[in-house]
C-alpha cells in the first residue's frame, strides 16, 4: 500500500502545476503590485504601502463604481433567480424530446460571441432601437425610454447571458428531487403553485444558491457587457480596472481595485451562503413547529 501513497499527489501534479502557473501566480503578482506606487515620470515604483487602497476607498468616484457594480450584480442575480428557477422547473417537466431542444435554446446565449451578442442588445436597446420603436409605435410610451448606457440596460443584457448558469445549476438540483413528492403533494390537495413553493423550491435551495453565487461573481466581474452597454460614462469595477491599466497606466491602482473586487465578491458570497444555510435551518425548524 505504501508504495502507492504518493500516487494521488503525482496524478494531481499536472493540474496543480497548471493552476499554479495560470491562476495563483498572476493573482499573487497582482496582489503584490497593488502595494507599489506609480509616478507619471518614472512608472511603477517598488514601494510597499497601502496608499492605493486608501485612495480607492476614500474616493467617491471609486465608491460609486463599486456601489454600481454590486447593485448591478445583485439585481442580475435576483432576476436570474426569479426567471431561471421556474424556467428550469418547466424545462424539467417537458417531454424528453422537447427538453433537449429547449435546453439548447436556453444555452443559446453562451454559444454566441460576447461582442456579437452585446452589439445585438445595443441595436435593441438604443433610442431608435427596436424596443423603443415598438413602445412608441404602440403608444405605450410618449417618448423613447433610455435603456442603452443605463444600469437597467446592463442588467437586462447580463441576465440574458448569465441565466443559463442559473438554469443549469437548478436543473442539476431538480435531478435529485423525487418527482413522486410533487404527485404526493398534489394528492394531498396542493395546487401546482403550492407544490412549486412548498415542495420543489425547498428541495433545490442548494442549486439556487450555487447558481446565484456563479451568476453574482460573473456579473460583478463582467467586462464586455458593461463596457458596451454602459458606455464610457457608466463604469463598473472591471471597466475601471481596464482604464487604470491601459489608459492611465497606473497599474498599482488598477491592481488594488482588482484586489478589492475579488475580496468584495468573496466576502459577499460567503455571507450569502451563510445566510442561506441559516434560512434553510430556520425553515426546517418552522416546519418542525407546525
Amino acid at each position: 500500500m505504501n508504495r502507492h501513497a504518493g500516487q494521488p499527489y503525482l496524478l494531481c501534479a499536472p493540474a496543480l502545476a497548471l493552476y499554479g502557473v495560470m491562476l495563483a501566480t498572476p493573482l499573487v503578482m497582482t496582489a503584490l503590485l497593488s502595494f507599489n506606487s506609480y509616478s507619471d515620470t518614472q512608472g511603477v515604483l517598488l514601494t510597499w504601502s497601502l496608499h492605493n487602497y486608501a485612495s480607492v476607498l476614500t474616493d467617491e468616484y471609486y465608491q460609486a463604481i463599486f456601489l454600481r457594480t454590486l447593485i448591478v450584480a445583485a439585481a442580475t442575480t435576483a432576476f436570474c433567480v426569479v426567471i431561471g428557477v421556474p424556467e428550469a422547473w418547466f424545462l424539467s417537466r417537458l417531454r424528453p424530446r422537447w427538453r433537449g431542444l429547449a435546453l439548447l435554446v436556453v444555452l443559446g446565449p453562451l454559444l454566441v460571441s460576447v461582442v456579437v451578442r452585446t452589439l445585438g442588445w445595443t441595436i435593441l436597446l438604443g433610442r431608435d432601437g427596436l424596443i423603443n420603436q415598438a413602445l412608441t409605435g404602440l403608444h405605450l410610451a410618449s417618448s423613447p425610454i433610455d435603456l442603452l448606457f443605463t444600469d437597467t440596460g446592463m442588467v437586462i443584457a447580463l441576465v440574458h447571458v448569465l441565466i443559463p448558469f442559473m438554469v443549469l445549476a437548478v436543473w442539476t438540483a431538480l435531478g435529485g428531487v423525487d418527482p413522486a413528492t410533487e404527485n404526493a403533494a398534489v394528492s394531498l390537495g396542493s395546487s401546482q403553485v403550492t407544490v412549486f413553493f412548498r415542495v420543489v423550491v425547498p428541495q433545490i435551495v442548494p442549486g439556487i444558491l450555487s447558481g446565484g453565487l456563479i451568476v453574482f461573481s460573473l456579473a460583478a466581474s463582467a467586462f464586455a457587457t458593461p463596457a458596451l452597454i454602459g458606455g464610457r460614462r457608466l463604469k463598473v469595477a472591471a471597466t475601471a480596472i481596464y482604464d487604470e491599466f491601459l489608459v492611465s497606466l497606473d497599474w498599482p491602482l488598477g491592481a488594488s481595485i482588482a484586489c478589492l473586487l475579488v475580496i468584495a465578491v468573496i466576502a459577499i458570497m460567503l455571507l450569502l451562503s451563510r445566510v442561506a444555510e441559516r434560512r434553510t435551518q430556520m425553515a426546517e425548524l418552522a416546519d418542525a413547529e407546525a
Binding site: S187, L188, E284, D287, A290
Partner: protein, 348 residues
C-alpha cells in the same frame, strides 16, 4: 352501483398502449389488488385513478361522481408511493400535517389529528425527526400516516412493500391490513408480488398486457385460474397441453386423465405442484423419474421427468427422506385438482 367503478379505461402514450381496456368494480371498504408483471398497465391504471395520467378513453366513478371532472388535488384520494415520496425538508409531523394544512384545518385541530395518525402507525415518538433519519420501514409508516390523516375516500397503494426486506414486509402487510379493516377504507393496491396480493386482498385483479384477465377472491383465483397466464402468475402450476373430449383429457405419451370440464378440443391441463402426490413406482396415474430435488425448509421441491413432460411437485417436509435423484416413482392427484383451461396457444 359500486363505490369505485372503472369503465373501459384506456391509456395510450403516443403509439404505445399502456392500458388497453380495464373495467373493475370495487365495493365500499373493499381491498382490491391489481396484480401483474411489470409493464402490464397496473401502475398506469392507479395513476389514472389518482389523476396523474389522463385516460384516453373510459371513465372512473367514485361514490357516484365522475372523477374525470375533478382535479387531482381535489379527489380526496390518499396515496402511498413506492418511493414513499416523503418531503425531505419537513419533519415527520410536518409531512403528516401537510395534507391538513392544504385543507385549512386549524392549527390545534391539526396537531391533534397528526398525533393520532402517528399513534396509529406507532411513530408518535419520532414526530420531530426528518425522513432521512428514519429506517425504510419507519418511512413507510410515515407515508401511510400522511395518506390516512386526510381521511381519504379511497386509498391507493403503489407497490408499497417493494423496498422492504422480507421479514419487515410480512409485518407491514399484517399491520396495513389491520389498519385498512379498522378504518374500513376502500383500497386499491398495485403489486407484482403474488403472495402480497393473496395475503392482503379481498379480491385480486390479475392483469396482463393492459387488460384484466381475472378478478376473484385470492382463494378462487388460485384454485380456479382463468387461463394459462393467471395459473402461472398466481403460484406455480404444471400446465400440459392436451385434447379434451367428454371429460377425458388425452395427454402426451398416450396418458389419459379424467377431469371436470365441458371443454372440447385443444386444452391446457393445470395441476398445482402441491396437489401432486409421490407414490410407489407402478402406482398412481403417471410414472416419473426424479431429476432434481431442492430443500426449501417446510417442503421439498421435486422436478420429475414423466411421459407428459417435466412436472414440479411440492412434498411436505414430514421428516421422512424424500425420493433420491434418479429414483423411479409414481405420481397421483385427485380428479378435482385437475383444472382444464382453454388453450390460447400464446405460451405453448
Amino acid at each position: 352501483m359500486s363505490f369505485l367503478e372503472l369503465r373501459n379505461l384506456q391509456c395510450r402514450y403516443g403509439r404505445t398502449i399502456a392500458v388497453e381496456d380495464v373495467s373493475l368494480q370495487v365495493e365500499r371498504g373493499e381491498f382490491v389488488s391489481l396484480l401483474g408483471p411489470s409493464g402490464c398497465g397496473k401502475t398506469t391504471t392507479l395513476q389514472m385513478i389518482a389523476g396523474f395520467v389522463e385516460p384516453t378513453r373510459g371513465s372512473i366513478d367514485l361514490d357516484g361522481s365522475d372523477l374525470g371532472r375533478i382535479a387531482p388535488n381535489r379527489r380526496g384520494v390518499g396515496i402511498v408511493f413506492q418511493s414513499y415520496a416523503l418531503f425531505p425538508h419537513m419533519t415527520v409531523a410536518g409531512n403528516v400535517a401537510f395534507g391538513l394544512e392544504m385543507r385549512r384545518v386549524s392549527r390545534s385541530d391539526r396537531a391533534a389529528r397528526v398525533a393520532r395518525a402517528l399513534e396509529q402507525v406507532h411513530l408518535g415518538h419520532l414526530a420531530q425527526r426528518y425522513p432521512r433519519q428514519l429506517s425504510g420501514g419507519q418511512q413507510q409508516r410515515v407515508a401511510i400516516a400522511r395518506a390516512l390523516v386526510i381521511e381519504p375516500r379511497l386509498l391507493l397503494l403503489d407497490e408499497p412493500m417493494s423496498n422492504l426486506d422480507a421479514k419487515l414486509r410480512e409485518d407491514m402487510q399484517i399491520e396495513l391490513r389491520r389498519l385498512q379493516r379498522e378504518l374500513a377504507i376502500t383500497t386499491v393496491m398495485v403489486t407484482h408480488d403474488q403472495n402480497e396480493a393473496m395475503a392482503m386482498s379481498d379480491r385480486i385483479a390479475v392483469m396482463r398486457a393492459g387488460r384484466i384477465v381475472q378478478v376473484d377472491t385470492p382463494q378462487s383465483a388460485y384454485e380456479h385460474p382463468a387461463d394459462d397466464f393467471a395459473s402461472n402468475f398466481l403460484g406455480k402450476s404444471n400446465n400440459v397441453a392436451g385434447r379434451a373430449s367428454r371429460g377425458v383429457i388425452e395427454l402426451p405419451g398416450g396418458v389419459r386423465a379424467e377431469a371436470h370440464t365441458t371443454l372440447d378440443g385443444a386444452v391446457l391441463c393445470s395441476v398445482r405442484p402441491e396437489k401432486i402426490r409421490v407414490t410407489d413406482p407402478g402406482r398412481g396415474k403417471l410414472a416419473g423419474t426424479i431429476r432434481s430435488r431442492m430443500f426449501l425448509g417446510n417442503h421439498w421441491l421435486l422436478q420429475v421427468a414423466s411421459e407428459v413432460g417435466d412436472l414440479l411437485v411440492y412434498q411436505q417436509n414430514t421428516g421422512a427422506a424424500p425420493p433420491e435423484e434418479g429414483q423411479v416413482v409414481g405420481l397421483d392427484w385427485h380428479k378435482d385438482s385437475l383444472r382444464v383451461l382453454p388453450s390460447d396457444g400464446a405460451d405453448a
